[in-house]
Amino acid sequence: MKGWALALVVVVAATLAIGVQGLPTHDAPEAPIHDHVGARYVERGVEETGMRNLVGAVLLNYRGFDTMVEVVVIFTALAAVLALPRAGSVADAPEALPVSPVVLFVVRLLAPFIALFAIALLFRGHVSPGGGFQAGALFGALFVALGLVLGRRGAARLVPERARPWLQAAAPLTFAAVAALGWALTGSFLGFPQAPELHAVREAMALALEVAIAVGGGVILGSLFQTMEA
């Protein structure tokens, strides 16, 4: 087994070693990666999308369709975990993870700051690093941390039961809504209007996506955590 595995790794390593040879040097500004599509984004991205953070511009605007499918992937993970048979009965489920008092203290101390940081990431995402996903991931991490402190019940209370399925579906649904709006306004699915008088609409659409991704992503990450722990 081990020998077979080593042989496979050696073969793959050799293949990669050959493959690396012919690749364009990545630090060179004239590499194809900087010169073709990338160049246009750098040149006209701000004007075309209204976002100074080009990563955000690519994620939400130029390649928004990828992001739409991606939020569907997270949703799929949630549906997957919820569709599995419940592991064991309540009786043989282990108690909550033991947590040291130091951790409890630190989590309580940091929680508001994490939340603040996540919100800052969310709303300043168009001009600084950050945006929906990063904020969502932080919300999710916060959820997990609070779950440790508040216990399962307390963490479950953070998201009201009746709103939960809606929040979990928030990102795909908002994407579809924004796509439909773009369809109506510009004639293309997920199109963002570029006319100057519609800039406010464009910004509102982007913001709606960011918020939905952050909330939806965060709630789903938290739910994944809870389902696994339960």
């Binding site: 690749l23 630090d27 990338g38 994620l59 390649r63 991606e70 997270i74 690093p129 696994m228």
Partner: protein, 116 residues
């Protein structure tokens, strides 16, 4: 970074890929296999992000004071998507692993193969 004409970044990425692959195929423990898969996946992300770098380049943030050349935004967007995809797959895999342990009482592949 390329001393002696060798692109060290790409070499490191390839090495990480191989370490992950080794864990995936040689380890018997399911959790170790999954960690190996994650290492492989991050190595591919590292490759993608690295490919978009440029010597002395700024992040692709066109705010006041930012100077070209900028790192390419496309690889970064791809990797953001990829990271989320990987965490989704990992969460599903971990749920399955927990179920397997609850049923078989082991996480070692060779022991699992012997059970019906």
């Amino acid at each position: 970074m390329a001393p002696f004409g060798v692109d060290l970044d790409y070499v490191a990425v390839a090495a990480l890929f191989c370490i992950g692959l080794y864990m995936l195929v040689a380890k018997s423990n399911l959790l170790k296999k999954l960690l190996g898969l994650n290492v492989m996946e991050t190595s591919v992300f590292a490759f993608i992000v690295t490919s978009g770098m440029v010597e002395g380049g700024d992040p692709p943030l066109l705010v006041a004071g930012a100077q070209p050349p900028f790192a390419s935004p496309i690889p970064q967007a791809m990797v953001l998507t990829g990271i989320v995809v990987v965490v989704s797959v990992t969460a599903v895999a971990l749920s399955l692993i927990v179920q397997i342990y609850a049923h078989y009482g082991t996480l070692e592949v060779d022991e699992l193969k012997e059970r019906p």
